[in-house]
């Protein structure tokens, strides 16, 4: 069975690609050319979609996006206006031409307008997307007017992407769209990508290109793992020494406040939240270079060895520092959540340090260093609570029994399928909300079509009640940076992350691998055409190959 489906995929991969249906490939028997999906190149697949056989034309000289009468967002809504320009460019391959042929009569089968209507009183034009944002939309494509309705601009952005994905070229190269009805909303509210800018510095250009690609895949959270052991590229206004000393280079390898602002605004215009992660108490070697006494001095015998361990949890100065630092972070990053990390704390340095031992005794922790970790995290959570932010933590914090606020979001990253499923069951039975990443560590690569396993994983696939399942608010694809930098990030992430995007957006029942292969091949060619070097799924071609080398 498995072997069958694999060989079927190989055959279809040899035979077909998007845009070649009417083509020069001999349709002989050896290579059964699998039909293009009836859903065309839509990715992720909308919840409800009806594509008719009626082809309509669009032309760059007549088509325009308009704000519908009665829409709560208009010409002053930069989110929409920017999106109109972007999608016009994507659909017609260039900016809008002068209306030279404005007087040309459009035929009865031409779509000349997409009316966009924001229906709720608060369009959220000037706000930021959040975990509770309504991202739904309804799209109806007809001639001469197509209509897109959404309660908020965030839904409208997704609708515009869907509209652009419905447009194709007929065999004469004319832009065509079939009469279509779409009613769509995400299955999960939190659909994220984690990028790691500490192991390797990622130039702003790469971050922005990935936000752009996230929007094409309806991702809505950029989890910015901005600092770690290896480097501290975040330029803090309060503690500039952190990046001055802790970045790979104090000027060329840092994110200035202006850079961070640019990333956040670029993301907002695409309906994407930016959640920063400042991981402590472990993974903090680079913090220690610019902040004296923050890290625990490790001892070798009775004397300090000169090396440092995790954040020192027994000093008041640590908590003063954290208060001021997270106060800054909470004002720089507008999102309602901040990721506090808390993973992989190595206790050996704490164990070696006599002051810590003494503190452990005083607190009555005995030899249980996870109690010390809990003590630290607890204080940190209290600090962050005062900034009015919600927080996300890696699963160890929950596993170690730290007392958490009921609205804490717990991020599952460890283990194989059996292990993460039982972890999800445990977390949700304790009443906490959770996010899944374990099956989506895309920094791990395998030979072959390694988008398929991530595609098959389902975050609600564990033993639990309906109530428990509802506590799963989504997941994130993670691309850790040990072997990834600007040179290879984009082709390694895309289109493999697209598989995760569909799992998190589309209905649970969308699991047909063959249909997914067809749509995803076409979707990847679309990303390539839009200038994103998304790698191939298998032997095949795109009508427009990547030209960016």
């Amino acid at each position: 069975m498995r072997a069958l489906s694999v060989s079927a995929l190989l055959l279809l991969a040899l035979g077909c690609c998007w845009g070649t249906q009417d083509n020069f490939l001999d349709e002989d028997v050896v290579e059964p050319v699998i039909q293009a999906s009836k859903y065309g190149s839509l990715w992720p697949l909308p919840q409800k979609v009806q594509i008719s056989d009626v082809p309509l034309k669009l032309s760059g000289t007549t088509f325009e996006f308009t704000d519908a009468k009665g829409s709560t967002a208009g010409a002053s809504c930069s989110v929409l206006q920017n999106a109109y320009r972007r999608y016009f460019d994507y659909i017609f391959g260039g900016p809008k031409k002068q209306k030279m042929s404005r007087n040309r009569r459009s035929g009865p089968t031409e779509v000349t307008e997409l009316q966009v209507s924001i229906t709720s009183p608060d369009s959220q034009c000037d706000g930021y997307p959040g975990v509770t944002s309504d991202e739904s939309y309804e799209l109806s494509v007809d001639a001469p007017v197509a209509v897109l309705k959404a309660p908020t601009v965030w839904g409208a952005l997704h609708g515009l992407e869907t509209f652009s994905q419905l447009v194709y070229e007929d065999k004469y190269g004319a832009k065509t769209i079939n009469s279509t009805k779409v009613s769509d909303f995400p299955r999960f509210a939190h659909r994220g990508i984690l990028l790691d800018s500490s192991r390797h510095f990622l130039p702003i250009k790469v971050l922005l290109a990935n936000l752009e690609t996230m929007a094409m895949n309806k991702f809505n959270v950029f989890h910015w793992h901005i600092v770690d052991d290896q480097s501290f590229p975040y330029l803090s206004r309060t503690f500039p020494q952190l990046s001055q000393k802790g970045a790979y280079h104090p000027y060329t390898h840092v994110y200035t406040p202006a850079d961070v602002k640019m990333v956040i605004e670029f993301a907002r215009l695409r309906g994407i939240r930016v959640i920063p992660e400042f991981d402590t108490p472990g993974h903090t070697q680079s913090w220690g270079k610019g902040q004296m006494d923050l890290l625990t001095p490790c001892f070798s015998g009775a004397a300090p060895s000169g090396t440092f361990g995790p954040v020192n949890p027994i000093l008041n100065t640590t908590y003063d520092f954290m208060s001021r630092f997270f106060k800054e972070v909470s004002s720089v990053f507008p999102d309602g959540y901040v990721h506090l990390g808390g993973d992989e704390v190595d206790f050996s340095c704490w164990k070696s340090n006599p002051d810590i031992k003494k503190f452990m005794d005083e607190q009555g922790f005995g030899q249980d260093y996870s109690k010390l970790e809990s003590f630290y995290i607890q204080k940190l959570l209290d600090i962050v609570t005062t900034t009015k932010k919600g927080y996300i933590i890696w699963q160890e914090v929950f596993d170690n029994g730290v007392k958490l606020k009921p609205d804490t979001l717990i991020h599952v990253w460890k283990g194989n399928q059996e292990q993460y499923q039982s972890e999800m069951a445990k977390i949700t039975s304790a009443g906490y909300q959770t996010l899944l990443s374990s099956p989506w560590y895309l920094n791990r690569i395998y030979y072959g079509q390694d988008w398929q396993n991530p595609y098959k994983a389902d975050p609600q696939d564990f033993k639990g009640t309906e109530e428990q399942k509802k506590l799963v608010i989504g997941g994130e694809a993670c691309l850790w940076g040990e072997y990834v930098d600007a040179t290879n990030l984009t082709p390694r992430l895309w289109p493999r992350a697209s598989a995760v995007a569909e799992r998190l957006w589309s209905a649970k029942e969308v699991t047909d691998i063959n249909d997914a292969y067809n749509r995803l091949s076409a979707h990847r060619c679309r990303m390539v055409e839009r200038g994103i070097p998304a790698e191939p799924l298998f032997s095949s071609f795109c009508p427009h190959e990547y030209k960016g080398i």
């Binding site: 040179t487 009508p543 080398i549």
Partner: protein
Amino acid sequence: MKVMRAVNTKQCVPIIYALLQLIIFYGGRNVVTGVWPLPHALTVFPERYPLNPRTFYFDYGRHSATQQGCSVLDAAFRRYLWIIFPDYTAENGQFAANNSFNLHISTDHNDCENYPNEDSSERYNLSVSAGQASLNAATVWGILRGLETFSQLVYQDEHGSYFVNKTYIEDFPRFQFRGVLLDTSRHYLPVYAILKTLDAMSYSKFNVLHWHIVDDPSFPYQSRSFPNLSNKGAFHPETHIYTQSDARRVISYARMRGIRVLPEFDSPGHTRSWGKGQSDLLTPCYKGGAPSGAFGPVNPALQSTYRFMTALFKEVSSVFPDSYIHLGGDEVDFSCWRSNPHVRVFMQKMGFGGDFPKLEAFYVENLVNITSALNKTSIVWQDVFDYHERRSALSVVEVWKHGCYLCKVRQVTKAGLRVILASPWYLDLPGPTHNWARYYTVWPLAFPGSEKQKKLVIGGEVCMWGEYVDATNLFPKLWPRASAAAERLWSDEKQTSSVERASPRLEDFRCKLLRRGIQAGPLYVGHCKHEYQGV
């Protein structure tokens, strides 16, 4: 300032062998520099000389057989001026004057208008002293290698000023054949991606582009004699083909960099795309007494097949000037031949009985004869060697299968045939890039055999098969991992046996590749002063 040296076996000679890297402590910060692949004899002294792009000159020695007007070298000077001085623009002139520096070039032969070939000498001597350097070689190809080495010796201090240290180098390749295979059939690679690969190859001193130009999925080579092959067999007849002028451009670009272009037209298997534009070329497969509509390998039983192949290879040999041609011959599936009654009748007639390898050997031998008549040396994949009984008809065998590949190398050389080794260098198989060590710790001659046998190992080749590779990910998959193999093929094995010592030099080289615009992937955590600025 400190010069690290390793143990050398000829201590009486005032040359430091195996100088693995030079660490210059400068103003509290240290600049690590080195040459990749490592030259055979390299001595770097502490004295350093400033360089100024405005007063840096290439010139030809008085007794040099090549003089101004040599197409290969004049173009190389222009290229290397920008490579040596990456920050130099005509506007910025903050470099101190009167640091004039001359790089004197001298060659024994004038082979400016030739193509590099399997006998070309790539040996060179380079000596850098105050205000001048001399680079001597038998051929222009040796000069190209020397220019590459010189460009890697130049470094910038933290103020951006350029320096080169007093240096002596004697260098030559360990293996004559150092190749990179690109597969343009599973995915079409745009011409500029091939050209850029040639650039990167020259930085690692590779000298053969093995162009696996056609295969089952597509036939992008546009043939003069048989235009239907690409009209019907390419992914797209206009946008996804290599025209005659594309092929010429690749060959000429490669020549300028001292790189041979070795085309592969693999048959009788791996030919599905051929059948679309050439009827009766492939074997019709049968199912229960009737043709099934499917096709198998090239039909070896028809005279028309050999007439077609003669005409095609005649064209190919005139387009590709190299004296080698790759005939493929791998992974032939016999089931279709077996099903075809005409093929079976032919087998009886030829007295092959039911022995299909004999049929394949017959086919390949015909092809070898066709190409020898065209004065070409043919290379075949090891499969051909494995089933061929009259091995003396063969000349070069490429070993590609996994397992004990050195056993195969031993066997092939014992039969007196030349070997190209590819097995350990299938770079399309993934693994995080830190696995570069696995391409480095390869010992191509570590098999029991005579000196004569060892000499028959003419080199090796890095393979980038195209199932999962196209222009979007080719570069970070290929570089810098291919460079690890490049050092194994160029440098002395004893001096380059340690991964640990090679590591900082390769990291430095990878940053140099980035600086030159090659999208080389990271080896591990870390950074380059100038990160890649694309997406």
